[in-house]
C-alpha cells in the first residue's frame, strides 16, 4: 500500500495504491495525514490504483468526509474502480461522497 501526496494550487492530491485492510489501515491513516493536516483547498483522493479496501477504510473515508465538511473543505474521490464503487454503493457512500 502506498500513498503519494502532491500539493498543488488550491488542491491536494493523494494517490492511493494497493490493498488496505485492517492490518494496515493505521499506517494508511498516517500516510494520508499530511494531505489533511494544515492543508487548504480541496482534497482529491486518486483511487485508480487502489485495489482493495475493507470496512476499516470505509470508516476512515467517512470520518474524513465529516472532517472536510466541518472544515468546509471539498473532498473528491477520483478514478474509483468498479469493484470499490460496488462497496461504496453497498454502504450508501456513493450518495455521500463526491465521485469523479
Amino acid at each position: 500500500m502506498e500513498v503519494t501526496v502532491i500539493n498543488e494550487q488550491n488542491q491536494t492530491i493523494a494517490k492511493i495504491s494497493g490493498e488496505i485492510d485492517s492490518t494496515n489501515v493505521t499506517e494508511f491513516e498516517a500516510l494520508l495525514a499530511p494531505a489533511i493536516i494544515s492543508q487548504t483547498g480541496s482534497l482529491v483522493l486518486d483511487c485508480a490504483e487502489m485495489s482493495y479496501i475493507s470496512s476499516a477504510v470505509l470508516r476512515v473515508f467517512l470520518l474524513l468526509e465529516k472532517q472536510s465538511r466541518a472544515a468546509n473543505r471539498e473532498l473528491i474521490f477520483k478514478h474509483v474502480t468498479p469493484e470499490i464503487l460496488t462497496l461504496f454503493k453497498m454502504t450508501g457512500f456513493d450518495s455521500i461522497f463526491t465521485l469523479e
Binding site: S22, L87, M90
Partner: protein, 770 residues
C-alpha cells in the same frame, strides 16, 4: 500445321537463300568485271582499227592527188615554153583522178610577158563537162590568195587550209599546191589540184565504231572539216568548246598523235579515239559514249539479274515445299510429345522408316513412349502400395492413440484428482505410452518409452501397456513388483531385444503417498506447493535388459494442490534450428509459471512451448506428457486472535484464485467477508489480553464456497446485528457496524450457531466457476 515465324523450314530456306544469293552476287560481280574488261578491249581495238583505216584511206586519196600533181609538174617543166599545152596537162590531171575537182597552174607576174601580169589557166568540172578558164587580168588576183602566198612563203608543196569555193557551188575545198622552181631554185609557178572535201569527209561521217558514236575531222588550224553538226564546219575551232573536246586531246590531235582518252562529252562519259592524216596535217577523231560501249553488257546484266531473281524465287518455293514436306513428321512429333506430356501414352506416332535423322527421331520417340508407359505403370503400382501403407499406418495411428486412455477428464466423478496426457508420435506410430487407472482409491499410472520409433516400437508399446495392466492386477499396489513382473514377461515376448524405459507410480488418493519405481526413465517433476522440483528417484535399468534384475522403488507424498508432471525424453531432447536441446531447465522454468493451473493447461502450454522451440526443425522423437494433480478441496487455517494473523488468512484466501481458478472479484469478495468476520472476532470476542484460537476452513461444496469460522470467545451472533441505516445524513451516520453490513451484503448466506463454547459462523457464496 501451325506455322511459326521462326520455323525450321523458314530458317533453312533463309540460310540456303543467303548462301545462294552470296554465290550469285559474287559470280555476277566477277563475270561483270571480266566482261566489261573484254568489252572495253574489244571496243578499243575495233574503234582503233576503224579510225586507222579511215585515216589511211584519206591519206591514200591525198597521196594519189599528190602523185597526180607530181606527174603534171614533170610535164609542166618539160613544156614551159608551150603555154598552150598547159590546158592539156591540167585536163589530164582532172580526168586522171576522180577526186580531183579542178587543177591549175598559177604563174608569177610577168612570167609570160605576152600574157601580162596574170597568167592562171584553170580546168575544173562543170556539170558533165570540163570548164577551161584562163585568168589573165586582175579579176581574180591569185597572187594575193592564201594558198598562193603560203606556198611561196613555205617554199614547198602543201595542202592549203580548206575553204568554201564560191565558183564551184560553195563546196568545201582544199587544194594541193606544188611550187615550180627554176634552175636558181626560185619559184615561178604553183601547180594546184583541188579536192572536194566531200570526197573524203564521207569516210569520216561513216566512221562509227558503235551505233551512237560520231566522228569529226579537223584541219591543221583546228577548224572542223567534218562534223555531224554541219554548221560548225569551217566556223568552229576544236579549242573553242572545251566542254566537248578537252584541250589536251585537241593539242595531241593538232600535233598529229594517235590516241584514245576518256572524257566527258557535254557531261556524257565518253571515249575519244583520234588519228592524224599526216599528208594534210589533219586529224580525225571518233567519239564513243561510255554507256554505248557497255550497253549490250548492261542489258545482258539486267537480264541475268532478272533471271537470277526468278531463279531465287523458284528456289524459295521449292525449298519451302521440300523442307516443309520433310519436316511434317516433326510437327507430328511435337504434337505427340504434348499429348504424351498430358499422360496420353496411346497417341499414334508417325512411322518413318527412313534411315536419316528423322527416322532416328521416330525410333527414339517410340522408345520414349513405351519406356514412359512402363515407367508410369511402375510408378502407379508403387504409389498404390505406398498409399496403402500410408493409410494402414493412419489406421494404426488411430488404433495406437485409441489404445491409451484418452477421455478427459478421466474421472468425472472424482473432484480430488485431475489428469491430462498427450502422445505426439514423431512418425505415424510411435513407441511412447502412458496409462492409468484407479483401483482401491489408488491411481496406478505408467509412462514409458520403447527404444526406437515407428512400427516395431509401436508393437512393443502395445505389449508394454498390456503387461502394465496384467502385472498391476497380479502384484497389487507395489510399483517395484509390477515393474519386475513386467520385466519378466517382457523377456518372454522380446525376441528383438528392444528395451523400454518407464516410470510406474501408485498414488494413494486419500493419503497422497506415492509409491513409484523408475526403470531408466526421465524422473518426473513434482510441483510441490508451487515449486517445481525433479522427483528424487532411485536409478534402475530399463526393462528388457536383464531378466533377473532387482528393481528398487521409493515413495513420497503428493499433497493436495500438488502436481506431478511425467514426460518422455522427446520433450527435453527436442532441438531448435541451432541443434540446442529444450532441456529440463527450460521445462522447469516454463512449469514455474504454471504452478496452479490445471493439468490440461500445463500439458497444452508445454506442447506449444516445445513446438515453438522446435519451429523450423524436424520432430525427431515421440513426445508424451502426463500431468497428475491432486485437487485441493479444502483449506484450513488456525489463527490466533491477533491482527497479525489476519495476513495468513488473507494469503490463504488469495491462493484460491490459483487453486480453484476463480475470478479475482470473487476472491476479493470472499476475502472482504472473511476479513470483516475475523476482525470482528479479533476485536470483540476475547477480553483484552486474553489469547484465543480461531479456526478457518474454506471448502468447495458443489457450486458454492463455504467458509467456516469458529472461535471460543464470547457468544456473539452477527446475523442479529442491526442493519446500518443508509438513508440517514452523514452527520448521523455511525462509523461502526459497516463490517457486518458488508459481510451480509457480500455473502449469499450467513449463518451463526453456538456449539458448546464455540461460535460457529458459516459464510456461503455461490461461485460462477470457470
Amino acid at each position: 500445321m501451325k506455322r511459326h515465324r521462326n520455323s525450321l523450314s523458314a530458317k533453312l530456306t533463309f540460310y540456303i537463300l543467303i548462301v545462294t544469293s552470296l554465290v550469285f552476287v559474287g559470280s555476277f560481280c566477277y563475270f561483270y568485271s571480266e566482261a566489261k574488261r573484254a568489252e572495253t578491249e574489244e571496243v578499243f581495238s575495233h574503234a582503233n582499227d576503224d579510225i586507222q583505216h579511215t585515216s589511211r584511206s584519206i591519206e591514200l586519196v591525198l597521196n594519189q592527188i599528190e602523185c597526180t600533181v607530181l606527174n603534171a609538174v614533170t610535164l609542166f617543166n618539160g613544156e614551159l615554153s608551150k603555154p598552150e599545152f598547159h590546158f592539156d596537162v591540167l585536163e589530164a590531171m582532172v580526168i586522171s583522178h576522180p577526186s580531183v575537182w579542178g587543177a591549175s597552174i598559177a604563174f608569177e607576174p610577168y612570167y609570160y610577158p605576152q600574157y601580162g601580169k596574170y597568167y592562171f589557166p584553170y580546168v575544173c568540172h562543170d556539170a558533165d563537162t570540163l570548164a577551161k578558164n584562163c585568168f589573165t587580168d586582175s579579176t581574180y588576183n591569185y597572187h594575193t590568195m592564201d594558198w598562193y602566198r603560203n606556198t611561196i612563203a613555205l617554199d614547198q608543196d602543201n595542202w592549203c587550209e580548206p575553204y568554201f569555193d564560191q565558183g564551184a557551188g560553195n563546196q568545201l575545198m582544199t587544194t594541193y599546191c606544188y611550187p615550180l622552181k627554176d634552175e636558181f631554185n626560185v619559184i615561178f609557178a604553183v601547180v594546184t589540184a583541188d579536192l572536194r572535201l566531200a570526197e573524203i569527209t564521207y569516210w569520216v561521217e561513216s566512221l562509227k565504231p558503235v551505233h551512237s558514236s560520231y566522228s569529226f575531222m579537223i584541219s591543221k588550224e583546228g577548224f572542223y572539216l567534218s562534223h555531224p553538226k554541219g554548221e560548225r564546219i569551217m566556223v568552229e575551232n576544236i579549242f573553242e568548246n572545251n566542254k566537248e573536246i578537252p584541250d589536251g586531246v585537241a593539242r595531241d590531235m593538232l600535233m598529229g598523235k594517235n590516241g584514245a582518252q576518256y572524257f566527258n562529252d557535254n557531261d556524257i562519259p565518253s571515249y575519244i579515239f583520234y588519228a592524224p592524216i599526216p599528208a594534210a596535217g589533219w586529224s580525225i577523231g571518233s567519239i564513243v559514249t561510255h554507256d554505248e560501249i557497255f550497253e549490250g553488257l548492261n542489258k545482258m546484266s539486267v537480264k541475268v539479274i532478272y533471271g537470277a531473281l526468278l531463279g531465287i524465287l523458284v528456289l524459295i518455293l521449292v525449298l519451302l515445299m521440300v523442307i516443309r514436306k520433310t519436316l511434317v513428321p516433326l510437327a507430328f512429333f511435337s504434337r505427340s510429345a504434348k499429348f504424351i506430356a498430358t499422360g496420353n501414352f496411346e497417341v499414334k506416332l508417325p512411322v518413318i522408316a527412313s534411315n536419316d535423322e528423322l527416322g532416328e527421331l521416330s525410333r527414339a520417340f517410340v522408345y520414349m513412349q513405351t519406356s514412359l508407359k512402363a515407367h508410369l505403370a511402375e510408378v502407379e503400382k508403387v504409389t498404390t502400395v505406398r498409399q496403402q501403407i500410408v493409410s494402414e499406418l493412419q489406421i494404426a495411428r488411430s488404433i495406437q492413440l485409441g489404445m491409451v486412455p484418452h477421455q478427459f477428464p478421466p474421472f468425472p466423478d472424482r473432484d480430488d484428482l485431475d489428469l491430462y496426457a498427450i502422445i505426439q508420435p514423431a512418425k505415424e506410430v510411435g513407441g511412447d505410452l502412458y496409462d492409468y487407472f484407479i483401483h482401491d482409491n489408488c491411481l496406478y499410472f505408467i509412462i514409458g518409452d520403447v527404444a526406437g520409433k515407428g512400427v516395431p516400437a509401436a508393437l512393443m508399446m502395445a505389449v508394454t501397456r498390456m503387461l502394465f495392466r496384467s502385472s498391476s492386477s497380479l502384484c497389487g499396489a507395489d510399483s517395484r513388483k509390477i515393474v519386475e513382473s513386467m520385466n519378466h514377461s517382457y523377456f518372454e515376448s522380446n525376441e528383438e531385444n528392444i528395451f523400454v524405459t518407464l516410470f510406474v507410480g501408485i498414488l494413494d488418493l486419500s493419503s497422497g503417498v506415492l509409491d513409484f519405481c523408475n526403470a531408466g526413465h526421465n524422473p518426473p517433476i513434482h510441483i510441490d506447493k508451487g515449486v517445481p522440483i525433479i522427483l528424487d528417484t532411485l536409478v534402475n535399468i530399463p526393462l528388457g535388459v536383464f531378466d533377473d534384475y532387482t528393481y528398487a522403488s521409493s515413495s513420497c507424498i503428493i499433497e493436495t494442490g500438488d502436481m506431478l508432471l511425467l514426460y518422455t525424453d522427446g520433450v527435453t531432447e527436442a532441438r531448435d534450428i541451432g541443434r540446442n536441446f529444450y532441456g529440463e531447465v527450460k521445462l522447469i522454468r516454463e512449469l514455474s509459471q504454471l504452478i496452479y493451473t490445471t493439468p490440461r493447461d500445463v500439458v497444452d502450454t508445454l506442447v506449444d512451448s516445445v513446438a515453438e522451440f522446435e519451429a523450423g526443425g524436424i520432430s525427431h522423437d515421440d513426445k508424451t506428457l502426463m500431468a497428475i494433480k491432486r485437487n485441493l478441496l479444502s483449506l484450513t487455517c488456525t489463527l490466533r486472535n491477533e491482527m497479525e494473523s489476519l495476513t495468513e488468512a488473507i494469503e490463504t484466501i488469495k491462493s484460491l484464485q490459483q487453486h480453484w481458478n476463480m475470478a479475482s472479484i470473487e476472491v476479493m469478495n470472499l476475502r472482504l467477508a472473511t476479513e470483516e468476520a475475523l476482525v470482528n472476532i479479533i476485536s470483540y470476542a476475547y477480553l483484552p489480553g486474553e489469547s484465543g484460537v480461531i479456526e478457518l476452513i474454506i471448502k468447495r461444496e458443489d457450486e458454492n464456497v463455504v467458509i467456516e469460522i469458529s472461535d471460543q470467545g464470547i457468544a456473539f451472533d452477527p446475523t442479529l446485528w442491526e442493519a446500518v441505516d443508509l438513508s440517514v445524513s452523514i452527520e448521523e451516520r455511525k462509523t461502526g457496524g459497516m463490517g457486518i453490513h458488508l459481510l451480509k451484503s457480500l455473502m449469499d448466506e450467513v449463518t451463526y450457531t453456538r456449539r458448546d463454547k464455540y461460535n460457529c459462523l458459516t459464510l456461503k457464496k455461490k461461485i460462477t466457476w470457470k
